[in-house]
């Protein structure tokens, strides 16, 4: 079914003439929002607070700036003059886009086409044999993504109205956020690799701009730059993969590549290399080992940004890319095993770091890295639907966790703001006992925590279980199990990945419970005076939380496991079959991966036991009452210290990559080669040489006729002898 060309797909498609023709409007709506908000931002720039380089004006009214304490206490947040228009435009375009997406989704569900509906807009690039259209593709996979992006996106936009309204850069914030959604939609709707890449790089840009939103703080600007550059390392792989595809297949359209993919040869080195290069791109965008380092730093951005971009949508683009390229990955078992193994290792590795972070957003950041690892395990083992399923549920509960933490930080910051304290509003050691002040957030975040920990019947339980079950099922009777991975049997790799997954699940339950315990339970450590100002956020913020809470609780019903007695069994799995079904079947030798009911129940039992154990361990071992505020806390020792410093990976990268490049470029290339050898020795050297000759010549111009005569004679003799000697 996938093997149909674009031409076939677009002529006589069952969606032709339907509302799906309007698919272009879905991304264009947020683009309009961007233009309006961007214009408001630039137009009213003169009104933004005083531009005082020596003063304390930091360009942000409140929130996450707590690590730097140069905060002006008397400073009243300057609300932007266009704030009220922005508050309407920003979220409205998203809600409209979501409604349109729902309509298109309904049309798609009614038509149930086997081939994607491709909407051609115009020809983008045409050169030689290469041609790529600006075209959008409506199919089961892209529309699931569109619903998540616009749906969760709309909720986060609404939340942002409350969270960011008092920031002087409010229109700029919404301009960036709208632009992000535009690019994210281009990413998932693009009908070819280059169009996807437009969105891919575009979301990277918005991520860069939003991480560095409060740009006068160097830490934030650094983090934005790091994100962009590290992503570019991945994009390098993505680009080379595209060049390889074009050189070998002559097209970069999804339908064309899928149709021609068999020509690459299943299991060939070529398709393996292409998939590995694509995965390098995914590792950058979706923060996997070794390119995950930018994501924790990305928490420098406003918290709703962390929820939308760095948890729910952008960072899952790599998972989407693998699922979108399922036809290629299913032909490359070695590459798929790499994806699964890297995913499994990342899941475990990031979870260990999450155990010792004190910044509430850092805990969630490493948790995101870890959960993204799960998704890659899913798509790596050829369970593309399972990977996408976890992507969706994760979007629900992680967005909720981030927005919830946003509410907490908001409350903490307001409290510190009232008292003029300079404490860190994101450090959990300064929190504690918040459940009495913020009961709604408390309950909702516990729902999300249970979801991510994998406690039934919450969303994460189903999706995580689906992935781990898929890994286990593929240890026998799949192309992956039969393949070799650097001489190791594929089944051994899969067992290892499964164990990593279970271990990470245990750690997930522990660190999430730890976060809840330290934040909401135990005594309050924020200070006597601050305590009075702690309260629940306004409803414009709490409302979206409630919606996400419901989704986190029931999201698992999207795809109930096969052994379930009733309900929509494997709905998402079947829904995605036209897109990735063939590829998934190829991995499992054409048969659905089936396990006996006993095995299934055992696996589920193990997973639940591990989750419960994790929570129990955390409750038993961690004593929030023993915590002291950040300012009084002692330095961690031993391995805890290593964890707190994230295994010193940033320092290692800095030492072996960043600094050698910088000093080498400066010392050897620029000062040495450029200024020294080329310019100094050759260019200026030859100038001195010429000057030397000139000096010599000048000496000869003595003005004495006698000398000239002698030179003339010598010259004549020389010339004559030269001729006679021929």
């Amino acid at each position: 079914m996938l093997l149909q060309t674009a031409a076939v797909a677009s002529t006589g498609h069952s969606l032709q003439g339907s509302v799906a023709e309007w698919i272009w409007l879905v991304p264009v709506l947020p683009l309009i929002g961007f233009l309006i908000n961007g214009w408001l931002s630039l137009r009213a720039v003169g009104h933004v607070g005083p531009a005082d380089p020596s003063g304390e004006e930091h360009g942000h009214g409140h929130t996450d700036d707590a690590h730097h304490d140069a905060h002006d206490d008397g400073h009243q947040a300057t609300r932007h003059p266009s704030a009220s228009i922005v508050s309407v435009v920003g979220p409205t375009v998203l809600i409209l886009a979501f409604l349109l997406a729902v309509a298109i989704f309904a049309a798609l569900a009614a038509a149930q086409p086997d081939a994607p509906f491709v909407k051609q807009l115009f020809t983008w690039m045409v050169a030689g044999d290469f041609r790529v259209d600006a075209a959008f593709q409506v199919d089961q996979l892209s529309m699931v993504m569109v619903l998540v992006i616009t749906g969760v996106g709309a909720l986060i936009h609404v939340f942002s109205v409350g969270y960011m309204r008092d920031d002087p850069g409010y229109p700029r914030y919404f301009a960036y956020l709208n632009l992000f959604v535009f690019f994210m939609l281009v990413l998932v709707l693009g009908a070819s690799y280059p169009v996807l890449f437009v969105g891919w790089e575009g979301v990277g840009l918005c991520s860069y701009l939003l991480i560095g939103f409060w740009f006068t703080d160097k830490v934030n600007a650094d983090a934005g730059k790091k994100a962009f550059v590290v992503n570019r390392i991945g994009d390098f792989g993505f680009l080379i993969a595209m060049f390889l595809l074009f050189a070998n297949l002559g097209t970069l359209d999804f339908s064309g590549v899928n149709a021609a993919a068999p020509a690459l040869g299943a299991g060939s080195a070529l398709v393996t290399v292409i998939c590995l290069l694509l995965f390098l791109g995914c590792a950058g965008k979706s923060a996997q080992i070794p390119l995950y380092v930018w994501l924790p730093d990305a928490m420098a951005g406003p918290t709703p940004v962390s929820a939308l971009i760095h948890a729910a949508t952008m960072v899952t683009a790599g998972v989407y890319l693998v699922a979108r390229s399922a036809a290629l990955f299913s032909m490359a078992p070695a590459a798929s095993l790499t994806v699964a193994l890297v995913g499994g290792l990342t899941a475990l590795f990031a979870a260990t770091i999450g155990l010792k972070q004190w910044d509430i957003k850092k805990v969630l950041a490493y948790s995101t890295v870890s959960q993204l690892g799960y998704m890659f395990v899913g798509v790596g083992v050829g369970a593309y639907a399972a990977g996408i399923f976890h992507l969706v549920t994760h979007a629900f509960f992680k967005a909720l966790l981030f927005l919830g933490s946003g509410s907490v930080i908001y409350a903490m910051h307001q409290a510190y703001h009232h008292t003029g304290s300079h404490e860190d509003a994101q450090d959990m050691r300064n929190m504690g006992g918040l459940k009495q002040f913020m009961p709604v957030t408390f309950v909702l975040m516990w729902i999300a925590t249970l979801a991510i920990a994998g406690i039934p019947p919450f969303a994460g339980f189903f999706s995580k279980d689906e992935i781990l079950g898929a890994v286990f099922a593929r240890t026998h009777g799949s192309t992956l199990a039969d393949a070799q991975w650097f001489g190791i049997p594929g089944s051994a790799v899969l067992y290892a990945v499964w164990v990593f997954g279970l271990a990470a699940a245990l750690l997930t339950a522990i660190y999430m419970t730890r976060m809840m315990l330290y934040t909401f339970h135990g005594p309050n450590r924020s200070g006597e005076r601050e305590r009075e100002h702690l309260h629940e956020a306004p409803w414009i913020m709490t409302g979206p939380l409630v919606a996400l809470g419901v989704l986190s609780a029931v999201g698992g019903w999207l795809n109930l496991p096969a052994f379930f007695p009733a309900g929509p069994i494997q709905a998402l799995h079947h829904w995605l079959e036209p897109v990735s079904g063939d590829a998934a079947l190829q991995v499992t030798h054409g048969a659905e991966a089936h396990m006996t009911a006993t095995t299934e129940y055992t696996l589920v039992g193990i997973a639940v036991a591990i989750a419960v154990a994790g929570i129990a361990i955390a409750f038993a071992r961690l004593k929030p009452a023993a915590l002291v505020p950040k300012a009084e806390a002692p330095e961690a020792e031993g391995f805890e210290r290593v964890l707190e410093h994230k295994y010193y990976v940033d320092e290692i990268y800095d030492r072996i990559v960043v600094r050698p490049i910088e000093s080498g470029s400066r010392g050897i290339l620029w000062r040495g080669l450029d200024a020294g050898i080329i310019d100094g020795l050759f260019v200026n050297g030859s100038a001195y040489l010429a000057r030397g000759f000139g000096w010599l010549g000048a000496r000869l111009q003595t003005g004495r006729t006698g000398t000239y005569a002698w030179v003339l004679v010598i010259g004549v003799i020389a010339v004559l002898s030269a001729f006679s000697l021929r």
Binding site: P53, A127, L205, K225, F243, E662
Partner: protein, 529 residues
């Protein structure tokens, strides 16, 4: 539109008109300067600026017709005008355009009026002289792009060198004398060898007629050159063009020239002059001696230098403390990409190379304008003197960000389309070189984002920057066409690509076929290289 153009005989006069108008204009501006001695300086200066701007706007308007009058299917020369010139030397005034040169002509006519606007307030000394030279420069550059006679080509090549020498040497920065002499000697060295090569070829082409023949077609028809002669001739052209591009290691004149040149000088240097080098490869070095160019050793060497240029230029750009120097080194990297595309010799890569030539003109031109604007306010180009100024000059910062992103090659901008096509096409013939060059994608993000950070982000901690005024309407106005170009070529480059397609295809075939004919003699007979 094309009917209207045909009705006024546009193709019959446009190219001579484009060359003559600025030349006459130069005379007029110079005379105006001479005549207005004694009157108030300000009045005379303003008149000179306005006259030059008006002439160059007219020039642009006239040239736009080429966009429609160009027959996209025709692979040959169009709008040809052939007039007798120096008969005894066999030199004729023959001009024409094809899909390759027409875009360069339009880029030139578009950038020149903007360059005048860019120097509107910063050029205060010898205003008439400056504008006279700018007009002469215009004629020279356009002449190089449209010359169909190699003697005319060489004359125009030198005509454009002299005004640039004075523009840097008189209106430049503190080390302007050093920079201008370096620029002059570097370029002269290459071009004198090229002159020898052109004379040799002209003599060979006219050997039957008893007098030299410098016409492009005649020289293309020259046959029977010995392998040594071909290697030496290619070498002469190579040196002239490689210095101009500039290819590593002939690039060290560029940073000095850029840093010392006034804003308009830098814009023209980067936007147009460097393209004359790559244009020379496309027009002369490749089609005339494809056997040498495609000779495995030569080709590998040139490709290696191109790729080294990409990486080396980026790495050195990374550590520059001076913004203008950073952009200068980034030009070495971008032009390395062009050379990669040219010597990879596929249809995609050649079109990509042409696109890089255009888009580098827009993006780097815009960057130099932006540097000039902030320099005019602050009198510093050092990163260390800035930081956080997005707070005071948000419009400047926004435009700078967009332009920098286009230089980084963000999809949706010209930079992506052009470099993507170069690499996509080059990968087909030289995959390993292309892979190395693609690392430049990472490095360009590193050096430009770091530059952005040190300029507009970070702590706003320099009290003297408080009073920096944001862009005025003149400045916004002159940047707007460049921004439109940046986005247009990024989103809908098809019309431009289509106009190049026929000529690029022809070039690739020519190089393949002629090269296949020349190559056996070169590889078996050995070379003098």
């Amino acid at each position: 539109m094309s009917d209207f153009l045909a009705s006024i005989g546009y193709n019959g006069w446009i190219l001579p008109a484009l060359l003559i108008l600025p030349a006459v204009g130069a005379l007029a501006v110079w005379l105006q300067g001479v005549l207005s001695r004694g009157t108030s300086n300000d009045v005379a200066d303003t008149t000179a600026r306005r006259m030059t701007f008006a002439i160059l706007v007219l020039e642009f308007v006239l040239s736009i017709g080429l966009w429609w009058s160009l027959d996209q299917k025709d692979t040959g020369w169009q709008a040809v005008v052939d007039l007798p010139w120096i008969d005894v030397w066999g030199a004729r005034f023959t001009v024409g355009v094809d899909g390759i040169s027409v875009m360069m002509v339009l880029l030139t006519t578009m950038l020149m009026p903007l360059a005048i606007l860019g120097g509107w307030t910063s050029i205060r000394r010898k205003v008439n002289g400056y504008h006279t030279l700018m007009l002469v420069l215009t004629t020279g550059m356009l002449g190089v792009f449209v010359a169909k006679d190699l003697f005319l080509f060489y004359v125009m090549w030198e005509v454009m060198l002299v005004p640039m020498y004075f523009i840097i040497g008189i209106w430049g920065g503190d080390r302007r004398i050093y920079a201008s002499i370096k620029f002059f000697i570097y370029t002269m060295l290459g071009s004198l060898l090229m002159l020898v090569a052109i004379i040799y070829l002209g003599l060979q082409a006219g050997i039957m007629e008893g007098k030299p023949n410098f016409s492009y077609d005649a020289i293309m028809a020259v046959s029977g050159l010995s392998p040594t002669a071909m290697f030496l001739l290619f070498g002469a052209f190579f040196l002239a063009f490689a210095v101009k591009v500039p290819m590593f290691p002939f690039h060290t004149w560029l940073p000095d020239a850029h840093v010392e040149a006034p804003t308009a000088g830098s814009v023209i240097l980067a936007g147009i002059l460097l393209k004359l080098g790559t244009y020379g490869f496309l027009r002369f070095a490749m089609p005339l001696f494809p056997g040498v160019a495609m000779h495995p050793t030569v080709r590998t060497t040139v490709l290696a230098l191109a790729v080294i240029g990409v990486i080396y230029g980026s790495l050195v750009a990374l550590v520059q403390p001076d913004f203008k120097k950073l952009v200068a080194y980034s030009s070495v990297a971008h032009l390395g990409m062009v050379m990669l595309g040219i010597f990879a010799n596929t249809r995609e890569s050649i079109q990509g190379a042409l696109m890089v030539m255009i888009s580098h003109g827009l993006s780097t031109g815009a960057l130099f304008f932006l540097i000039g604007m902030i320099y005019e306010r602050k009198h510093s180009r050092m990163f260390a003197d800035y930081g956080g100024i997005a707070k005071v000059v948000p419009i400047w910062s926004t435009i700078l960000t967009i332009v920098a992103l286009s230089s980084i090659g963000l999809p949706g901008t010209n930079g992506f389309v052009s470099e993507f096509l170069v690499m996509l096409g080059s990968f087909k013939t030289v995959p390993y070189m292309t892979t190395v060059a693609a690392i430049g994608v990472i490095l360009s993000a590193a050096y430009l984002l770091w530059a952005l950070q040190r300029l507009i982000y970070n702590a706003f901690d320099k009290p003297s920057n408080r009073s920096l005024p944001d862009l005025n309407w003149r400045e916004i106005g002159l940047l707007t066409p460049l921004l439109i170009g940046i986005l247009w070529l990024g989103v809908y480059p098809k019309p431009v690509l289509q106009r190049m397609e026929a000529s690029a295809t022809k070039l690739v075939q020519l190089v393949e076929q002629r090269g296949a004919n020349q190559l056996p003699a070169l590889t078996s007979g050995g070379g003098g290289n």
